[in-house]
Symmetry: C3
Subunit: 344 residues, 3 copies
């Protein structure tokens, strides 16, 4: 495969970057600083890789102005090199061209409406009354149930399931194995047996969201489960019924949000973190990896729980003492309450 190529000057112009060095150099792909060679563009954002700059064989490097001082090679100067690199790299990774039409093997309910400019892949099945807009890709093996809507330009890579009443905005990207709109976990105990609480809501996903592989987002019990625009969910995340997630919030892999929690905008949730049900988290909260959010959060900032890693032998000694922590504190308190000058 031969991909696209651009001169450094063209790249600088297209993305409003300052060019230092040879603008005629042609770039045809991106690479890391350490491994880049001729025709490749790299970037320097993290200061810990600065030492790699001098020895890099990259034809051009995106970097900050201060890093470009004294650099002898070709540089593209950016205030945020990672952002600039992301934009430039996209030039060399064009999406596969849309192939509009419905694959012969796909099964489409007669009441579904599929735009002629949508692409429906092999072994896809589309349920009653679902609507698919122009520019949408429904990849191989996807199952779209009843009453779903997929907005313009959205891509379901492969084997994605939208169970029922799932509405996706525009340019939503969903990776394989994700399941949206399965029943929420609603149970009531009735004379020693569970009875299922019907789950009748849907899932609403805003524009520009990305949903990772094998992530699950349950439908609401009565109302909908809602993701605002530009929400980014990594792989294997679980979102319970009736959860609401604000715009531009991102969650790392294996995070889990229990039912009816409300999460603000511009939050960052670390990997494998958990959020209990019915809590409210305000905007701009950051939760570190594997923390459990046990109460609502009203103030922006960074929050944590858990215990740092240590050698197992040391951990055993300390963990055993944790069971005595309350007693220990009481003993220290008691001792302090007996003033020393009265002891004698």
């Amino acid at each position: 495969m031969t991909g696209p190529s651009y001169s450094v000057a063209e790249i600088a112009k297209r993305f409003g970057l300052e060019l230092r060095g040879d603008g005629d150099t042609v770039i045809s792909s991106v690479a890391t600083l350490a491994r880049a060679g001729a025709g490749q563009l790299a970037f320097l954002a993290n200061p810990r890789y600065r030492s790699q700059l001098a020895e890099s064989a990259a034809s051009a490097v995106v970097m900050r102005a201060d890093d470009a001082q004294g650099h002898s090679g070709t540089a593209l100067v950016a205030a945020d090199p990672y952002v600039a690199f992301a934009k430039v790299a996209a030039l060399f990774d064009p999406p596969p061209p849309l192939q509009p039409g419905i694959h012969a093997s796909a099964v489409v309910d007669p009441s579904a409406r599929i735009d002629p400019q949508a692409q429906v892949g092999p072994f896809a099945s589309i349920g009653a009354r679902s609507r698919i807009a122009a520019g949408v890709v429904v990849g191989p093996g996807c199952v779209i149930g009843e009453d779903c809507e997929i907005g313009e330009g959205s891509v379901l890579v492969a084997r994605v399931t939208l169970v029922r009443r799932v509405r996706l905005g525009k340019r939503v990207l969903i990776h394989p194995g994700a399941v949206l709109g399965a029943d929420g976990f609603g149970l009531a105990m009735d004379a020693g047996r569970w009875i299922k609480v019907p789950q009748q809501g849907g899932v609403v996903v805003g524009d520009d969201c990305e949903i990772g592989a094998n992530t699950t987002i349950d439908r609401g019990a009565i109302e909908d489960t809602v993701l605002g625009e530009d929400v980014r969910l990594d792989n294997q995340i679980q979102i319970g019924h009736n959860v609401r997630i604000g715009a531009h919030t991102a969650m790392a892999g294996c995070a889990a949000v229990a039912g009816s929690a409300t999460i603000g905008s511009h939050c960052l949730v670390g990997g494998a973190a958990g959020i209990l049900g019915h809590l409210e988290i305000c905007d701009r909260v950051m939760i570190t990896a594997m923390s459990l959010v046990t109460h609502s959060i009203r103030e922006p900032g960074e929050y944590s729980s858990g215990i740092p890693l240590m050698p197992n032998r040391e951990w055993r000694r300390n963990a055993a003492r944790f069971r005595q922590l309350d007693t220990l504190a009481r003993r220290v308190n008691a001792r302090e309450k007996t003033p020393r000058d009265k002891e004698d």
Copy 2:
């Protein structure tokens, strides 16, 4: 779509609820107290929503007798309003009508036996010697391997995999992406390399179980992995080989049970909780979210581990002290062992 509708009097009679107010009011759907309008039924179970009752525009509300005191609208009085609501709501959410027959695209092994009253969807594949009873729905994209049995009225929503030797009881409901009967994780280290321990058992699932999206239940190594009746598993749960789970136990999303653990009946396992292998947990144990069960549990009750959430700065200070906890305790002990009246 026009769904079913019922008068409040009919609903009261059908479910044995006490009617207060206008029995002729017609209900055609359910809603939350806050958003319900004309023709909608809501419920009040959690006291924290009591303040919403006065302003609710619901045509009728399911509630306890004491909440109904002084309520001016139409009430259906129940000892457990949530249970009553669950039953009533099901009236308005009838399952899609069964469409018996095998979709033309499905691939069925000649030795499989499929009841004429079962429904097998598009792109389903059914392996050798598997048997599917009346009233079963095998949704689109399901893979049923060899030697499986699916009991009457069970529903595999879509893209469910039963790998091999999986036996489901009656009325089992399995959500998309679930995988039952994959090999357990059995390895033996032989001269620096892993060798696979053959996994030859199956999975047995009791009547009325529900299994969430992307949940995995491995087949036993030699004997079977077993779920009792009415076990309820949320999404993304992992059940290792040879695990046994007692009747009416429920687990929230992302819980994980390692191989050969035995869990009693009527247990509640919180989200993302973990249970180590070969442990035994008695009946009526409740494990809070994200706890790790590190030893067998012989007494019913609630169990926890972990650390509550706090601001990161505060957490860092305390977590650093955890590493010194044993030393701290020893120092306090030492000090106490020197009686003060002998110090002088």
Copy 3:
């Protein structure tokens, strides 16, 4: 189904085990010590099951020499009975015979190359330029994207997705629902909105790896995500982009590794353990279940974090004190710094 059968003498000879007792006994399956009957082989590896030996009705038992002392039944003596059992059990669990050829329903890109000795199941789809070697099984519902390679003898059980640029070595076994090669989670914040960092690398999986059900392994951002040979991943594991895992490392269910972490060879990662991004872990490290690895590890050994389980009431008291731990330690320090002999 009638499976294969072997005399105990044949088994002893084939695997180099010492035979004690009746070599003519015929074995046709394996079972646990407790439940084995005539014609069945069991094993005794864990001393806690020793008491079951005397009463076992197994026709033969694999055990250590010291356990065989005084045992009246037929024994196969092995230095490591579990390893020996694993090998013997495989005799009775032969893989289903390969059925070479491409199922009529499969969709194969014209540019893909599929060895005539490979088996491609129903509803599989194979993308452009992908290559599938002899002896490979691509089970029902698998999606193989563009530019993938699957080495000789590898088995994708069912509904496995290789998104793009995924290269599997020989004899790799992948269970249903696994997704390899989905985009890594690469985002840059640009004026309040996320922009996606293109993910252009691939996934490389060494020979003899096993990958569990619903496990996800993301493609690298620029370079590849790499698993060495004989890496064993259980179910529901998440491996971020650019992670490198050394040979013979095994991870239990629900473990998660964030992007760009490097893990050595012969490591054991417990269930639901997490490893933060960009860390380095040396060879022969063992991480206990549900621990969070918060820093690089340079020394082999066992590492842990977390808090052991306790009754909730007790846990609440101790956990509340955790928030005061730093203060408590300071108070103890302060008290110790005032020498008692100067107090008076």
